[in-house]
């Protein structure tokens, strides 16, 4: 039987209360939301929090809405709602594409965007998606709020910029016209973690790529931001040759390890091929927006 080690439990009734509890209880306290990352880690003793603060009652953290020219997603928003959101589908189809291949529908009823990002598992899809679309994370503590880019959010394997006494409360996505996005993943079986996955977001104006975000899952110790490929693409007219060159950079710049899901050369090959495909489809989406 797999059971977590003993811990103290409390149910938060407000965001302020949850943050106050985190502050009071110190670094051995953890937030629990859907629990589909944290509980498996606790069963395996890979995580051993002494206190769990349950935020499932905090409905004020569950929303997807437009505000101040951004899409704002509450940290407690569940995968199922990310999959169903019309607003997200219109602006960032990459979310629905990724969500259909994240675990299974029953798990998606519980797991949350905040939990996925804070787990900071390099093999998890949403971290790459959020990186590609240039999301920013809102982190709140007793001292107030700060907003960090995804590049600064993931600081190491299973490590984020969220400090002791702080919690992730919101994810913000830019709303810029002329954008397209796509997620490409290869997995061993339905609902599994990726062998490799690539997320791409492309913005086009006047037939030229004005901005691009590219990130990879499962091929490095943390989510891989393919910045060299982004630099290559920016300012150029999209073409198959360009996508192929970006794919080669993705293949070279990731750092996969061999495991049960495949050897290094296979994963590098996938990183390149999936990047090319994701760019191709994201660009097609952006061109449709522009037209």
């Amino acid at each position: 039987m797999q059971t977590p080690a003993p811990f103290e439990y409390e149910r938060a009734t407000s965001v302020e209360g949850a943050i106050a509890s985190l502050e009071r209880l110190g670094p051995e306290a953890r937030i629990i939301a859907g629990g589909h990352s944290l509980l498996p880690m606790m069963k395996l003793r890979l995580a051993n929090p002494e206190h769990l603060i349950d935020i499932n009652d905090l409905d004020e953290l569950s929303y997807i809405r437009e505000e101040d020219g951004e899409i704002r997603i509450g940290a407690l928003t569940r995968h199922v709602h990310l999959l169903q959101s019309e607003l997200l589908r219109r602006w960032y189809p990459v979310f629905a594409e990724a969500e259909t291949v994240i675990a299974d529908p029953v798990v998606r009823n519980r797991g949350t965007i905040g939990g996925s990002l804070c787990q900071a598992d390099a093999a998890e899809d949403l971290s790459a998606v959020c990186s590609a679309v240039k999301a920013r994370a809102v982190i709140r503590g007793t001292a107030g709020e700060r907003v960090v880019s995804m590049g600064k959010f993931h600081v190491g394997p299973y490590q984020t910029a969220v400090g002791a006494g702080e919690m992730l409360t919101e994810v913000r996505l830019p709303m810029r016209p002329g954008g397209g996005s796509a997620h490409e993943k290869v997995e061993r079986r339905a609902g599994d973690f990726a062998i490799a996955a690539s997320s791409a977001a492309v913005w086009i104006d006047g037939g030229v790529i004005t901005d691009v975000g590219l990130a990879l899952s499962a091929v490095g110790p943390i989510t891989v931001h393919v910045t060299r490929a982004e630099e290559l693409l920016r300012g150029k007219a999209p073409s198959e040759e360009l996508f192929a060159a970006a794919g080669e950079i993705a293949s070279a710049d990731c750092s996969p390890t061999a495991d049960g899901r495949g050897p290094v050369d296979y994963k590098r090959h996938l990183a390149g091929a999936l990047t090319k495909r994701a760019l191709r489809r994201a660009t097609a989406g952006a061109l449709r927006q522009e037209a």
Partner: protein, 159 residues
């Protein structure tokens, strides 16, 4: 700590450790062993129950997190000897062999039909993609859920 969880409409109160998983709470306290404890890793779907009408994996939910919520287990499907259409469908279409995955399959299917009364085979396969059957190859399970969708009135039939 003392918790009260509503299981199949009945409030169940018990003093538990916070680390107790919902699947064990259901099986031990009201003694409803229809909910199966399978892989323990949220992969197999044998432990699926409905929480506030949504299917969840009860091996990856602390019992204490379920306080104040309505839990429905496979035992709630049959009422006064009348089978739920999904149960009848599994019977009609021979959708089980060993039966271990069946409680989770039934609850997952029930939730699907509550939300989408006329699912395509693809919808059904997607809905049960988090539930693993090692006997049947899924053909008969999909046929059973289709059968249930086509016979919603069978609910009132004598068994």
């Amino acid at each position: 700590m003392q918790v009260t969880i509503t299981v199949n409409g009945v409030p169940v109160t018990r003093d538990i450790e916070p680390r107790l998983l919902l699947v064990h709470f259901i099986r031990e306290t009201p003694g409803l062993t229809g909910t199966h404890w399978g892989c323990d890793t949220s992969n197999c779907g044998a432990c699926v129950v409905l929480m506030d009408d949504k299917p969840i994996k009860s091996c990856t939910q602390l019992a204490v997190m379920s306080e104040g919520h309505d839990i429905r287990t496979v035992e709630s499907l049959e009422v006064d000897g009348r089978l739920d259409p999904v149960q009848q469908g599994f019977h009609e279409k021979h959708a089980l062999q060993c039966g271990f995955c069946t409680p989770g399959m039934l609850m997952t299917s029930r939730a699907l039909l509550d939300e989408n009364p006329d699912p395509t085979d693809h919808d059904i396969r997607t809905a049960i993609s988090g539930a693993i059957c090692r006997c049947t190859g899924y053909q008969n399970i999909v046929a059973a859920v289709r059968w249930a969708a086509e016979h919603p009135a069978v609910e009132k039939q004598e068994v």
